[in-house]
């Protein structure tokens, strides 16, 4: 008995996962339009910026957690959620950036350019977002086939992206680094896990 089958994954697990990943954004909308929740407070633009950024980072870390999860539990179907989760990370970060350009800066391009070039934490964020775009574009099955092994190499960009994301958050905070520190700790565990497995595999191949 193997639950879930590929078909069940496609028809049940993935839609549920999709809804789960989308729900923070839906919650944001409900608050923004005052249909539920405490609302966005006195500075809604900043609230949206913070919310989307944090959830983008969470989606990123979640994406990185899926492979270790699969290895720990032995459940292969978990990997099938990885693309969706990664694309959700891009979605949240994309809206985070769009909110910055539109509502926050009002399309003031010279100010935006100045920010990206002169404020280090924004430079890091911009680089991370830029790097996410080719990953998003090549997330399809077609591209995976087309690139073959190069696809894996390209998608290792997710590691520096996650590091830059945490760094961007850390440098953005005024004084209380508790939250960024938690994300860094989680990232350290996830990357450490990969490093450990990478070394183990190298040793195994070297030995054979």
């Amino acid at each position: 008995m193997s639950f879930p089958t590929t078909r069940q994954t496609r028809l049940i697990v993935k839609p549920i996962w999709f809804a789960a990943c989308l729900s923070p954004f839906l919650w944001l909308l409900l608050n923004a339009f005052e249909f539920a929740g405490p609302g966005l407070g006195a500075d809604p633009i900043e609230a949206v910026q913070d919310f989307m950024g944090e959830w983008g980072l969470r989606m990123l870390l979640l994406t990185l957690a899926l492979t270790p999860l699969r290895q720990l539990t032995g459940r292969a179907w978990i990997i099938q959620l990885r693309r969706m989760t990664g694309l959700f990370a891009l979605f949240y970060i994309g809206v985070h950036f769009l909110n910055y350009v539109t509502l926050d800066q009002g399309f003031a391009w010279s100010v935006i350019l100045e920010d990206i070039l002169e404020r280090p934490f924004i430079t890091l964020g911009a680089i991370a977002l830029l790097a996410m775009i080719p990953l998003g574009i090549t997330s399809t099955n077609g591209w995976r086939r087309r690139l073959g092994r190069k696809w894996n190499t390209l998608h290792r960009l997710v590691y520096p992206i996650a590091i830059l994301g945490c760094w961007h958050f850390w440098w953005q905070v005024k004084e209380d680094i508790t939250e960024p520190a938690i994300y860094v700790a989680i990232l350290a565990v996830l990357l450490g896990f990969r490093l450990y497995h990478h070394r183990k595999n190298r040793a195994a191949t070297a030995a054979s």
Partner: protein
């Protein structure tokens, strides 16, 4: 009974039941604007919920108007009392209003010491009794690049300080916030090295714009706004306007200030609002006016927060890029 302290044009003989509640009156433009926009703005709390200021806030009697007040539209009472930086209660903007319920601002005393003839510990009543309370509607600009207009109630700091006869050695005035971790949950962690401390040069402290605020919107200061006594220096970034003051010292040397100690390249002693001197991590050229909802465009920041005419003289000849 509502105290109409400012701009209502009602003639005598108008029933108090006919007087528009302050928060509706002062938000009328937002209400009208909101009516034209579908979705978010129409249902924002603080705009549509045109309640009177809650009865639990005690009205301050005999508040006089002041010519120092701006005629800019004040930020709503809801926003002023729910969007705060007061790390003693937590570091989120909503923390101070959420977690300051247990704070007891009365009874209160202030310790006055340092280079002055008259020093000691004085009750709040002794501090305030000889002074007339004034309404000062001031612009407030946070270093984080947002701003409000707040109708404070308070007394000129200079009038108070003169009572203690500072000596010629008193070149600066230092202030200290209360430390009460039992009532201020944010102080249970060393987010900042408590107590929060700030200071002013003597001429800044004596300037007629500088006040000790005891209230806002005609009522006693809510806990989250720095009850029962706080400083307001409207031409400087908001972190200079230290809250819940328990100590005032006259000093010879430039006093310790908390944010300057934490990040000296980001927060200076003077902290004058200056659109030409950026914070290392963000621009200070523009600010977001709180209360405008989603479509509040950033507005250009004014030199000295628009008080240049009154205070620029204090800094003549001073390199404001160096002394930020």
């Amino acid at each position: 009974m509502l105290i109409r302290t400012s701009r209502n044009n009602s003639s005598p003989g108008v029933k108090s039941s006919e007087i528009t509640p302050e928060s509706v009156y002062l938000n009328r433009r937002q209400l009208l604007r909101a009516a034209g926009i579908s979705g978010a703005a129409t249902l924002l709390p603080g705009v549509a919920s045109a309640d009177d200021i809650p009865a639990r806030y005690k009205r301050i009697p005999d508040v006089r108007k002041s010519s120092f007040s701006t005629d800019a539209e004040p930020t709503s009472f809801d926003d002023v009392t729910s969007y705060n930086n007061f790390y003693e209660f937590g570091t989120d903007k909503s923390d101070p209003s959420a977690y300051s319920g247990a704070f007891k601002p009365l009874p209160w005393s202030v310790r006055i010491d340092g280079e002055a003839e008259l020093t000691g510990t004085f009750t709040l009543e002794d501090i305030l009794a000889p002074h007339a309370q004034e309404e000062r509607i001031y612009r407030m600009r946070c270093v984080e690049a947002w701003s409000m207009v707040v109708p404070w109630v308070g007394i000129p700091l200079g009038d108070l300080l003169q009572r203690f006869k500072p000596t010629s050695k008193a070149k600066y005035v230092a202030f200290e916030t209360v430390v009460r971790p039992a009532q201020m949950p944010g102080q249970k962690r060393a987010t900042l090295p408590w107590p929060y401390r700030e200071g002013l040069r003597m001429d800044e402290a004596m300037h007629p714009l500088t006040i000790l605020a005891t209230g806002l919107y005609g009522v006693d200061l809510p806990n989250q706004n720095g009850a029962p006594l706080r400083l307001i220096v409207p031409w400087k970034y908001g972190f200079k306007s230290i809250k819940s003051i328990v100590g005032i010292s006259f000093t010879e040397d430039e006093p310790y200030t908390t944010w300057n100690d934490l990040a000296p390249n980001e927060y200076g002693f003077y902290a004058n609002v200056n659109p030409e001197v950026d914070h290392p991590r963000w621009s200070q050229a523009r600010e977001r006016p709180i209360g405008g909802g989603f479509f509040a465009a950033k507005v250009p920041t004014q030199m000295f927060n628009g008080y240049a005419e009154q205070v620029a003289g204090l800094y003549k000849g001073m390199d404001l890029t160096r002394y930020f």
